[in-house]
Symmetry: C2
Subunit: 340 residues, 2 copies
Amino acid sequence: MSTSSAAQEPSPLLFFQTINAHQRTEALKAAIELEVFTAIGEGNTTVPAIANRCQTAERGGRILCDYLTIMGMLTKNGNEYALTVDSATFLDTRSPAYLGGIIGFLNTPELLEGFRNMTEAVRKGGTAVDNEGTVKPDNPIWVKFARAMAPMMMMPSQMIAKLVDPNADRKLKILDIAAGHGLFGIAFAKNNPQAEIHAVDWKAVLEVAKENAQKAGVAERYHTIEGSAFDVEFGSGYDLVLITNFLHHFDPQMNETLLRKVHAALADGGRAATLEFVPNEDRVTPPDTAQFSMVMLVGTPSGDAYTFAELEKMFANAGFSRSTLHPLTPTIQQVVISEK
Amino acid sequence: MSTSSAAQEPSPLLFFQTINAHQRTEALKAAIELEVFTAIGEGNTTVPAIANRCQTAERGGRILCDYLTIMGMLTKNGNEYALTVDSATFLDTRSPAYLGGIIGFLNTPELLEGFRNMTEAVRKGGTAVDNEGTVKPDNPIWVKFARAMAPMMMMPSQMIAKLVDPNADRKLKILDIAAGHGLFGIAFAKNNPQAEIHAVDWKAVLEVAKENAQKAGVAERYHTIEGSAFDVEFGSGYDLVLITNFLHHFDPQMNETLLRKVHAALADGGRAATLEFVPNEDRVTPPDTAQFSMVMLVGTPSGDAYTFAELEKMFANAGFSRSTLHPLTPTIQQVVISEK
């Protein structure tokens, strides 16, 4: 075989680690459900204290905490466990950056079913769950998504507002397509007091976005348009259209149809800001970005993680004059800014 | 919190990688089922060739191969994929060291159910699948196990025979407890022409062991004892008792009961050789060894990955005079040799 090398002894370790990788996911979910990280953060650092706080058997608590330590999510010193910086920040329910709630979305049977039917999805070249997977109209999964994923999008939404509207000194009429939790539009509204947001999504999802706009104190500048982005009237004269985590669900042709509609809704000199997982042209780097392709294979009929060249072409075909790519470090996503 | 450090920025990356880790398992299973590694090993190195050989959509084949590349199981150069040394050795069906068949065991719904009920297992302190999990009498899972896991045990079985019977120059009457595929006893029989093996396991499982003894050319020196190791008559005068991957299913008290029976079956000067996952006293190192505890939590009522101190105590309580610990590098398991 072309890759064999006399210097390297074959090892089955990566095979075993990968075939058992699902155990790590289950252990993390169990720890979140049982509030193990919160318990330890509160000062319950030994097995008896953790088991008592989390209402588990001591044996179960001990084996789970050891497993979390092996995974690098806790540290262990003698009989005492402690949170890592990352666990304290993202997994203790008392932290403002708590992310554990996203298991409410990731645990959705429909999503899991997609992954469990991966072989069939590879054969078909698209989701094996049903004909439309997660992109089915009014799929209630997106209400769960809007509620569960908001904390995860807090940082990227603030970063994208600063990137696209750094001076925040002009009136901005903004269309937020498939707004979901609404955080992206809301971040622009908080960043710029002259920004007016028009959010498009399914009716039930927009209720979540409106709640979040209320909490953020921008409800007066938050307007909604109910329905599919492919069907509704956007209106016109927008300075900015936000297309966040949306294009990856569809094939290039559907995206071009949408982008032509976006182009028509923009004022002269207007821009579209697209948040996506944009892998390099090799499609295997950066790894955490590139692997999002698989999420689309198992969950949608024809979605993908598009390269910048592919996105650039869709925008050009829809009439945009120029697109530029911007990293959103430290997130694993990128922003494409496209000018009318 | 005690672990916080001003120097380290919190990152959610480990959280995301862990919550998505199950996708890696599904991708590896899909690739094995579709024979992607074999296809590439045969010279189908581009997406169209792989898709044609594996009967998949090109889109599905491309996304899967990119994902396998990201996981480190393939390499990609331009549009061509190649096997790594490890994949060529362990995942190409044409390789004598092919391990892919073990998904036949690991995919067992009963095993997967254990992992999917981890939260409940932690609460209970034992498997949530049913009262006995995988240790139920005559559980057909062990026939699957015997067929699927044999290739994985080829190397450890040869290593343990060389470790325990290095000179192979004397008659040895060997009892192989819970023989499964039979490979451990068979390795001793192949290593030493004067070794006679007496294998204990459920009747249906012993059929697999006998087939393997036949293939190995040691059927004449291969004898069987049908039933549970806790119930059957072992006979007596054994020079060696093999207890491979067995004690981890049970609690210390049950193990001591069994070990007393083993002690009684041994001739004077006889030894027990125990193959186990033996973590260090901290129970979190070595990581691949220590995490086996979780497999026992979700799959058995009271099994565990025991430390050497715990195993030593069980053997001492059962009457053994001395136990010693031996690594079985490069495997993630260890051998304990205990003298009568």
